[in-house]
Amino acid sequence: MSSSEDPYALMEKWLKAKEFLVVGKGVRRADALEKAMGQARFVEDFYMPGHMLFIKQVLSTEPHARILGIDASKALEVPSVEGVFTAKDIPGENQVGYALPDQPLIAEGKVRFAGELVALVAAKDFDKAIEAAEKVKIMYDPLPYVLDPLEAMERKDILVHGEVGSNIAFRTKVRKGDIEEGFSKSDVIVENEYRTHHQDHVYLETEGALALPELGDRLTVISAGQYPHLVRAIVARVVGLPESNIKVIIPYMGGGFGGKDDEGPLVAAKAALIAKLTGKPSFLMYTRDESMLMHPKREATIIKYKSGASRDGKLQAIEVKIIHDTGAYSNRGPFILWRATVHASGPYRVPHAKVDGYCIYTNKVYQGSYRGFGNPSVQFAAEAQMDSLARKLGIDPVELRLKNLLRPGDLTITGQQLNESVGVADAVAKLAKVSEWSSKIKAYSSSNGRYRRGIGIGVAWHGISTSRGVPDWSNALVKIEKDGSVSVHTGIVEMGQGSPVSSHRQIASEILGAPLDVVTVDFGTTDAPDTGATHASRGTSIGAIGVYVAAAKLRERLNKLASELLGTSPDEIEIKDGKAYLRSNPEKYISWKELIKEAYSRGVEMSATGYFFLPKGKFNDEAGQGYAYPAFSYVAMVAEVEVDTYTGKVRVLRIWPALAAGRIINPTQVEGQVEGAAVQGMGYVLMEQFVFDNKGRILNPNLTDYVVPTALDAPEIMRPVYVEDIFKYGPFGAKGVGEMALIPAPAAIANAVSNALGVQVTKLPLTPENVYFLIKEKMGKKA
């Protein structure tokens, strides 16, 4: 590598760019046409019935039981059935836990929740697979089970995982200063217990995979997933093949929202297992009820929160206990809990903090990744605390926040100093203006009558990249082909967010100076270098660094070549509008196509990878202090609601979002993310809810009884306020957006309802029933 291709130097150079060709513009996404024509292909669209095996899953009906035996004889009599497969057929390892090795792909010995996979049936005929699955008989020896996380924490006689010796799967902590001292300095103290519930992703496309066996023990898997290289690693482990024998392609996906980061590798492993065992192409597509019964949910939490502030409105101390009901398996629970723990303060300066997190096993469906990753629940609690403090102190809620918000140079509760890219206070101040906060809060606080208006704010932060200094990197392969077209190869997937089909193209086009329409992105493939996952809002931030660096390397080569051809120095070269020319004399130029031709004929390599390993600090788990993230994105939201006090129905009328998420590469796509996340967050707060029976079984695994927002429920969403607080390692300073607007939504909406009713909401969801009881309770108190 020549020194001119050092990634740090290249990043520094491009971070200084002030004028842009395509970055910052609402460039149209490349996939819109094929999607609008119904031509885009998703996993299910590759299925060819009659030529492939169809797989059907047999799920546990018991929450906790020993498996005494499995009788497949009747199932095997069904015509066209290829086989019934169980844990003992797995040639590799039956272990798929991401954080802890506690989870089998197929239940082995015992089941731990109703809905767990016990057997797979494969048949040539779709109907026959279903018929056979119904004929598989599982003999269970039921065991006592535990559903409530508080109870599970205490019990030693009922253990979801006997070998752990307790139902506490994982613990986390943060310690800063001395909370005794902090509370003694506090003039007001508020203490509340918060509860939040599960949420289903309801991506319109359920989980699916098609595994195609090839000669020489090779496999190609077309699958759902948010990280092709992780899908491949899990498949390899389960089928017992080297990773290099497996190719994973993640085509267009009908939504992911985190859920397919967890379930994608599992659906792929199931299809691959059958393909490996039978030697035949094998296809598995979850039905909606399977999807809802099986895939991990947003964490259900209990959060005990005590905060103290001095009379002048300065936060002095917090003490927080976070309990996550992780269900039958820890899955990514420890990571989710970790994120919740370090974000527990909200984006505020807090001198004294004690935070403890507990990830608890119960015999229910397990928790997993979901847009916000442990953060929406804890920001809801933190922001309800801020409102409670504001009320007690007699300070306006926005003003109280502005007194405490993090600013450059401040320390987080883990003791990490944030020197740059901290635009949150600016964003909140601007947001208060555009939403006409001051006049509304005054007007609504005294509202009366049947329909009451309320306004609320939620402010949140979200660390970019993996937590706690866990290694994270980016990469991509960028090639300029002989005809001048540009292809970008990345592991980042396209699940609707648009990073490969919009921002990646913009970044490559901007840096190379190549016209946007010659840039094509090949996404979601293990043929690309390992790019890391499309999660944690990293698609356009960390994920695209690879594109940024690879393109910058090629640009250096092009500038050098063009300068030689035009007889000048590389710094004098400008490339745009299909030519490379002299800055001082645009008449002296060579066309883009000619330039590339010259590169090929003169031995200048026209492909480059853009590996970048993110520099990070260390976190000390023992001390509960240290480095948490390379940067934080910030988001704030004001919500205006109307509550029908007769029925308890809440309508969100309007939402004002604000982002301090670094450079906005594509405002159109960012708005799309913000709008979608806000409505998904609103659904979570007002209507979405699972109902469990006394065996922990989900009673409403369908879209009739699990209700998500329609166009009639969705509020008006105003244009976001942007504060571009540049992050030095992000492409052109971008931080990350995908999850952001969901994170403050519970806080903003719940605080608005509190404002309308003169109560403090501490429990979600705010269904008409729950709100009705809140109103009754309040009236009871008055009477």
């Binding site: 119904g38 996906m253 609707g496 708005e671 709008e675 979608g676 369908n702 009639l712």
Partner: protein, 165 residues
């Protein structure tokens, strides 16, 4: 028992044998290779499988294949004529109403139909008309914008034609 049926699909005649319990959605996707209509819920809650039957929107996940015998079916693939997109398709692209795209075919078919019935709908009327279609990505903002824009475009074009006459 297989039942032979004949119908017009996207303007072309089709003859095919189906099972008595075969769903239109499966027939289209699996036998006829039209994968634009999507399976999402299978129970009539999402609208992603919407197609036109004799010009009326129906949920293909709840329609038996035998019932289209002798009728005319149009899917998302059949909307664009001679590679010319419909005003609604164009507006979806221009207004960024497409994200993951799984819901898109259903919405486009519905809004196309709405604008035939009501060339000048209000935002409320649009929201009311598409209330049976779910989208989990967009928050519906840009879908509604696209419908308004397509309506405006269509009105412009028809008035142009009228003036020419």
């Amino acid at each position: 028992m297989k039942i032979p049926i004949h119908f017009i699909l996207n303007g072309e005649e089709v003859s095919v044998e189906v099972e008595p319990n075969e769903l239109l959605l499966n027939l289209l996707r699996e036998k006829l290779g039209l994968t634009g209509p999507k399976y999402v819920c299978g129970i009539g809650e999402c609208g992603a499988c919407t197609v036109l039957l004799d010009g009326e929107p129906v949920l293909s996940c709840l329609t038996l294949a035998v019932d289209v015998d002798g009728h005319e079916v149009t899917t998302i693939e059949g909307l664009a004529k001679d590679n010319e997109l419909t005003a609604v398709q164009k507006a979806f692209i221009e207004e960024a109403a497409v994200q993951c795209g799984y819901c898109t075919p259903g919405f486009i078919i519905m809004i196309d139909k709405l604008l035939k019935e009501n060339p000048n709908p209000t935002e409320e009327e649009i929201r009311e008309y598409i209330r049976g279609n779910l989208c989990r990505c967009t928050g519906y903002v840009n879908i509604v914008k696209a419908a308004l824009k397509a309506a405006e475009e269509l009105r412009k074009n028809t008035s142009l034609i009228k003036i020419k006459k």
